[in-house]
Symmetry: C2
Subunit: 493 residues, 2 copies
């Protein structure tokens, strides 16, 4: 993380006093005990107590806070519900933690334009709750949807089981209001189609709080499908399951979700929640189809044929919504279930092109033997989004080191086959130092130039996503010195 | 347009010679007669002969050309098929016109990942042609799809009739390879889900050739729907038709397309192509539903009920694909059809929130009376994307001036009701000077800072999209001068 600024810490009292003027009442937290709740997010291995926590309740307050921080050079870490799995909301000891928890209102439901306008602290599920009585829902559904905020979803470009068919957050956001680091309030997008100019809305989505603070969102809502059914498909090998996923997609079918679990994960989940999974298979797919009933029936038949062609040894279609929920319960509990059978596990989040599934699974099994560590595979197979869980015991010899090497090998493999380091958990502090595996220095510089366009002094969430901090001022100095600065001369940050 | 650079024009011979070294053979065009084909794009009112036309055939050649232009400060205008309706590919007299016509190969068809990798000069329809024998297609379908290039589609974020259900270009592009102004070749996105870092792929899509030259694209392909049917719905008023569109969307139905025509357009189209349209209605909707047959049947019944509730006086469902094609033939020929009944027309391209359709149509009728000029309405009603055609005679009194005022009033109204200046034609030179109607100076500055991050010297397609050129160097100078540059102090470009 960036070196704390001594001159800011020395002025803490003055800063707190000014923040209390901007946010009167109980919105400014400085006592260590009260700050504890904000020390970490879902990646609890990292903890830092922020200099001060501010919980504004109006956009004007946020604008004033940002302008003040910009003037004094105070760093700002925005925080939604704090459910990030990559440390995206990890505080800085010399920084303000800007909590959006009080922005929890649905502002407008607009069925004619099929959208909802909400404050960023509304939970993901809260959007659906506001419209489900009319038969609508908000599609992206991260596992944390009961707790995670829609503002945080935008920061991380969150996914979920249904993103295969309905897209990630970026495909479902229509507009935002946001505050820039200088306090300026801007609107990007809206209820309309497309927009002239560069697509700044797309740029903001997934920018992990490094470009601005989102203070209002407009998201698309969808009509709930007429029917949905899930099928369990068991296979004698991971490769056959992987080929089946590729085969389903290649045939043109787009299931509402296709999840995959390997033998270790199946066993652990079944022991934990009794989902009714077969225990004599090496790999299990859960494939959900939705739409009109007659369409679902036909698609299920086609999925079944593809599975049979790939050697499926088990098949069971959910007979009602209760059974469908049971199928999913096992999948959703798979992480804690694996946690019950190993002292520690290391969860990866790589994404690969779908047709590489079988190859990557086979290679991962070889690595497992090489490192003498078990691995449980639970993942969004339809998206090619892997969540291998490397099982180890931190108290046993060099198992931790071996697990980390194993993890690095998996990520390198993902990149080698044309994939990426993360599918939905973001980079945050967790994968920051791995960005070089994926991007060249040219790529990283290109990203930093965009950062400089929004936040020249690097005050917004520094230390996240990128291995080094940008030095936008150096860029300017070089420019003046030489009169003209073609890109190759920009100093590497 | 930007002032031509005398020092570049003076070095024309030397520049041409260097370009001939980079692109041997017939790829460099300097003769006036041969350059004529490149003088304008689909917006033929604007014409400029470029200093030189270059038609490279490899990415390495493009990289060398860009690096050379960057070194010498030569402006570059990229061009796909030249079908832009907003002058996006209008040449500069001191600039290189970089034609991508030789990049016309499909590089890979990958059904497992449901995507096609193509060179940017492949036509939009060419993508579908490469996969239709397997039952797939590429969804965005601009009217010019037989001619327009996929690279141009990315530059303009092109739409089409089916974008209501299947999204604009930005929702169907998975990755690009592009060359930056300094010659650097980068890849953005790929065959995988999401990606870490800022979403530069989203930023590039719709950037009208101002950020880089796309040299390869990866696009999503979809399975063709099992069936598709269209229904003609006639109404005694535009308002009832507008309310029907809002009602269909509010009910949760997402048609494959919903197009609307008013009485003037209906009459003109029917006279021209005999599509079988009713002539005793004020407004006509063409609504297409696609999917499994049973779903289409049910949705057609629901659309019919909504139309009846809004007072529809005419309804006809296509009985076969031939009749469906006839319904569309009238719509697709509506522009030339209107051209047959008025000496001149001025085509607008605003977009509004759907529930404002009825209101905007009513206001437009009042304006038509005020200006004493007819207006024909032909548009993508489902998207809220209006294409009013203001009819006038340039040789009659002040009709041209009145038409322009009328047009400006329509665009202002679009912005007032929460819409934007363009839906799919782009800004280009056509709407450049109207950007101030939509954006504040703060918004425009934010966009310019992004431009500076990619192209500090403003060499890529200057004069398009933005009313003034950015002065990135000034930004740097200010920064040094004051030691610290908060955003409000950045000089207005």
């Amino acid at each position: 993380m960036p070196e704390p600024k001594r001159e800011i810490l020395d002025r803490q009292d003055e800063i707190v006093a000014r923040l209390r003027e901007i946010v009167p009442g109980e919105g400014v937290i400085v006592h260590a005990a009260e700050k504890r709740a904000y020390e970490s997010d879902g990646l609890t291995a990292y903890r830092t107590s922020p200099m001060v926590v501010v919980l504004p309740s109006t956009v004007d307050q946020i604008s004033q806070i940002m302008a003040y921080c910009n003037d004094l050079g105070i760093r700002v870490v925005p925080r939604g519900a704090g459910t990030s799995l990559s440390g995206g909301a990890l505080p800085l000891e010399d920084g303000i933690l800007l909590g959006l928890g009080k922005f929890n209102q649905i502002l407008e439901v607009d069925y004619d334009n099929r959208c909802v306008v909400a404050q960023p602290g509304v939970t993901n599920l809260g959007i659906t709750k506001a419209v489900e009585h009319e038969g609508f829902y908000y599609a992206p559904d991260p596992s944390s949807q009961i707790a995670c905020s829609i503002g945080g979803n935008i920061a991380e470009n969150s996914g979920g089981v249904h993103c295969l068919k309905y897209g990630l957050t970026t495909n479902n956001v229509l507009g935002v209001q946001m505050v820039l680091i200088d306090g300026t309030v801007v609107r990007l997008g809206g209820k309309h189609l497309d927009s002239e100019g560069y697509d700044l809305l797309g740029l903001i989505t997934g920018s992990e709080g490094l470009l601005g603070v989102v203070t209002e969102v407009t998201v698309r809502i969808l009509k709930a499908p007429e029917s949905a059914r899930a099928v369990l498909l068991g296979f004698p090998s991971n490769e056959q399951a992987g080929d089946t996923v590729a085969g389903i997609i290649a045939s043109g079918i787009v299931p509402a979700g296709v999840e995959m679990m390997d033998k270790v994960a199946i066993q652990a989940a079944e022991d934990f929640v009794r989902a009714g999974y077969p225990l004599d298979v090496e790999a299990l797919l859960i494939c959900e189809l939705d739409g009109p009933e007659s369409e679902v029936d036909e698609l299920l038949a086609r999925v079944s044929r593809i599975a049979q062609d790939n050697g499926a040894s088990y098949e069971r279609v959910s007979q009602d919504d209760e059974e469908r929920a049971k199928f999913w319960a096992g999948r959703k509990a798979a992480f804690p279930a694996v946690g019950r059978v190993t002292p520690d596990y290391y969860c990866m989040d790589g994404t690969i092109p779908r047709h590489q599934l079988a190859h990557v699974l086979a290679r991962m099994r070889e690595m497992s033997e090489h490192y003498q560590l078990g691995v449980a595979n639970v993942f969004h197979a339809g998206d090619g989004n892997l969540h291998p869980l490397i099982m180890y015991d931190a108290n046993e010899g060099n198992q931790l080191e071996r697990a980390e090497e194993f993890g690095a090998d998996i990520l390198k493999l993902c990149v080698q086959v044309g994939g990426v380091l993360t599918g939905e958990h973001g980079v945050g502090v967790e994968k920051r130092d791995l960005m070089g595996e994926m991007f060249t220095q040219i790529d990283l510089d290109m990203q930093q130039r965009v950062k400089c366009a929004f936040d020249r002094d690097g005050l917004l969430n520094p230390g996240k996503m990128f291995p080094t901090l940008s030095n936008c001022a150096e860029m300017g100095k070089m420019h003046i010195h030489r009169g003209k600065l073609p890109f190759p001369d920009i100093p590497r940050f």
